[in-house]
């Protein structure tokens, strides 16, 4: 069962990141406080207080994937290597703009075609400086997906060979999927 | 060397088989339709541009000016307006404009219309070089049809 193997390795990765958390938190706390201060609704404050666990075994029938892992932004390459080692294939890379939380989320969808399972890797990055390393060295197929994500969200994939617009016009300096984008 | 000749023979044979098929079809009747001379009959479910439906009793449109079609249209190409005549409770349709340049013929408006005041027309010969020709006044079309 490659899913079980991947789960184990990713759990170790997540655990490693949580040990390192204190210094990271110091940087992130600035951005994390803003929505709480700005948002009057109690619902949001609650959400920020209790983030979902980093590794969730999801119900495939309900969600459409088996494993949902949140890693630190600098660990996405390690996560990709783990999945590459277990012969997973890359399905898509995309972003989500969480404007209220001042964060962006990068989502990687992996799929095992031999022993079917789907794994989702996420990483949250601050919205003001959306940067994280590229996985296109591990999966060359991620090259275009990352370029597309850069087009739509302005997320910079550090180390990517060519981040010029793929789907947008070549002189585009806007990122249409940002929630504050207006045409 | 024998492989070479074998391939030569089987290859030529495959070409002859293909040619035989095309010759066979050459002698069969034409399957295409001679379009401007002949016309296709549209199926009952064919989705042309939308049209107002006449109420058989009153002779006017069935529309109650609820605005659901305008709200449900993904392309925003419907404009409806109505007013209440003196002493009447029901609104009467005064404008029904369809911007056909933007319409994607999805049919969501027809589905959302509770009184069944909308239907698809079966027109498909709608060519024009001018954009303005595609801003349809459906109320006027309804009157003209009578």
């Amino acid at each position: 069962m490659s899913l079980a193997k991947v789960r184990e390795a990713l759990a170790a990765l997540v655990a490693a990141s949580q040990e390192e958390l204190p210094p990271e938190e110091a940087i992130e706390s600035v951005t994390e406080e803003t929505p709480e201060a700005a948002a009057p609704e109690g619902e949001q404050a609650e959400e920020a207080a209790a983030p979902p666990p980093p590794l969730v075994d999801t119900n495939h029938a309900k969600k459409g994937f088996h494993l949902d892992v949140t890693v630190a932004p600098d660990q996405v390459v390690q996560a990709a290597e783990i999945l590459d080692g277990e012969k997973y294939t890359i399905e898509a890379v995309t972003g989500v703009d969480w404007i209220k939380e001042e964060q962006m989320e990068v989502v990687y969808d992996y799929c095992d075609t031999a022993d079917f399972s789907r794994v989702v890797i996420r990483a949250r990055i601050p919205r003001a400086t959306p940067e994280l390393p590229t996985i296109s060295r591990v999966f060359p197929g991620a090259d275009w997906h990352e370029r597309e994500t850069h087009d739509f969200f302005g997320i910079t994939f550090v180390g990517h060979p060519d981040l010029s617009p793929l789907l947008l016009p070549e002189d585009a300096d806007y990122h249409p999927l940002l929630k504050d984008f207006t045409a | 060397m024998s492989g070479y000749f074998k391939e030569l023979i089987s290859g030529t044979y495959s070409l002859a088989v293909g040619l035989g098929i095309t010759i066979k079809y050459f002698t069969q009747p034409v399957v295409t339709m001679q379009y401007p001379m002949e016309h296709v009959k549209m199926t009952p479910r064919y989705r042309g541009h939308i049209e107002l439906v006449r109420d058989e009793e009153t002779g006017a449109s069935k529309c109650i000016v609820c605005g659901m079609c305008q709200k449900s249209c993904p392309s925003g190409c419907i404009t409806v307006a109505g007013k209440k005549p003196e002493g009447s409770k029901k609104k009467v349709l005064t404008t029904y404009r369809l911007d056909f340049t933007k319409c994607s013929l999805c049919g969501l408006c027809v589905e959302s219309c509770k009184p069944g005041a909308l239907d698809f027309s079966k027109d498909y010969n709608l060519a024009s070089p001018r954009k303005e020709d595609y801003i349809f006044d459906l109320l006027k079309r309804l009157e003209e049809k009578s």
Binding site: K63, A92, L167, P169 | G11, L105, G107, L108
Partner: protein, 372 residues
């Protein structure tokens, strides 16, 4: 490639293939750096019909995005309708009545056949044979007529609804489908005699355009490209949705990795789709085509959802992020040919230009789906 290495000189020149080129079937531009007749680098340049469907989705309600799904892959629009319906049904917890599921499968498979027929004609046209295209279009025309009578449109269908269908099939549909399958069954040997066994086609496809299984994996290639490289993966089998588990069909797999393998996979898929349709027609139950109660305003609970279907070109999947309102917060469309085309640069290196076009045809590109 050894030929390439031998012919390597210092001189290369750049040729633009497209954006308006018959072999790219749409508006794809490939910037070719050529060394004589050999390709040094082929860089696809996309975005000529980019329409930002993903932003469109965020503007309207859940239901208002349905017409857009048929406009991505215009050749297999119903699979895209299907994928989006499944995603939203999964998110909002809507049950689909059995009759609706069967009709969905039948129409989706009919649409797959029409897509493969068009691909077949266009692919042979790319290789220089004009006649098969006309025969394929003849068959496809019958199919489109059949689908038009139930769905109301010929190409950009918008037939499925959350929880069911737009309307039920009409009385002629079942007989019409059976008659069509009978007709196509009798025509398939003709196609194989005319094209598959043709020596010119064989010479142009066998051992041309190798794509290894490993390359497929690294680039996320799916569909017939993957199955032509010996990997047995079909969402209909591996992650069954709708009523596919109740139907008996095979997944054609060829392990030659060349253009011929991809050609054969698609031709066999037509046969398998016919099998699926026949069984589904036999099993078609009576009943409603919509659930009793579909909420008028669909508001899926917060969270994200994933749904994948097997379209004619590979895995089409949708990632939905809902924030609990009546509009999608984020909707990611993962189109199969986007991934399939991304391996083109690596796969075409060192090939003859004419062979590279055969390779491109064997990927079965639909540009509006790549650009979205």
């Amino acid at each position: 490639m050894s030929v390439f290495a031998e012919s390597q000189t210092q001189e290369t020149f750049v040729v633009n293939l497209g954006p308006q080129h018959p072999a790219t079937h749409g508006v794809l531009r490939v910037k070719l750096t050529m060394d004589g007749e050999y390709i040094d680098r082929a860089e696809p340049i996309l975005g000529y019909i980019h329409r930002m469907h993903e932003k469109n989705a965020e503007v309207g309600t859940w239901a208002q995005f349905m017409p857009n799904t048929g406009r991505m892959d215009y050749l297999h629009a119903l699979a895209y309708n299907f994928g989006y319906s499944i995603a939203v049904e999964r998110a909002a917890g809507i049950e689909v009545p059995e009759r609706a599921e069967y009709i969905r499968v039948i129409t989706c498979e009919l649409n797959r056949i029409s897509s493969h027929l068009l691909w077949f004609g266009a692919f042979v046209l790319d290789l220089g044979g004009f006649t098969p295209l006309l025969y394929a279009f003849d068959d496809r025309e019958q199919l489109l007529d059949l689908l038009e009578t139930v769905t109301g449109s010929r190409l950009t269908y918008c037939y499925y609804r959350f929880g069911g269908l737009y309307n039920d099939i009409d009385e002629n549909f079942v007989d019409g489908s059976r008659a069509f399958i009978k007709r196509l069954r009798s025509r398939m040997p003709m196609y194989h005699n005319l094209v598959t066994k043709n020596i010119i086609l064989m010479k142009r496809l066998i051992d041309i355009g190798p794509i290894s299984a490993e390359m497929c994996r690294k680039y996320g290639a799916t569909g017939p490209v993957l199955r032509g490289s010996g990997i047995n993966f079909d969402v209909r089998k591996n992650e069954p949705y709708s009523v596919y588990p109740e139907l008996d069909f095979d997944v054609p797999v060829y392990s030659e990795c060349d253009c011929m393998a991809r050609y054969m996979v698609r031709m066999d898929e037509i046969d398998q789709s016919m099998r699926i349709i026949e069984q589904a027609l036999d099993k078609l139950p009576d009943g409603p085509i919509k659930p009793e109660k579909v909420p008028k305003l669909i508001k899926p609970p917060k969270g994200d959802y994933y749904a994948a279907v097997e379209a004619a070109r590979g895995t089409f999947s949708i990632r939905l992020v809902s924030d609990g309102t009546n509009k999608p917060y984020r909707l990611k469309l993962r189109s199969p040919t986007f991934s399939n085309l991304s391996l083109y640069e690596e796969a075409s290196k060192g090939m003859l230009l004419a062979d590279a076009l055969a390779l491109m045809g064997s990927l079965d590109l639909v540009i509006p789906e790549i650009d979205r």
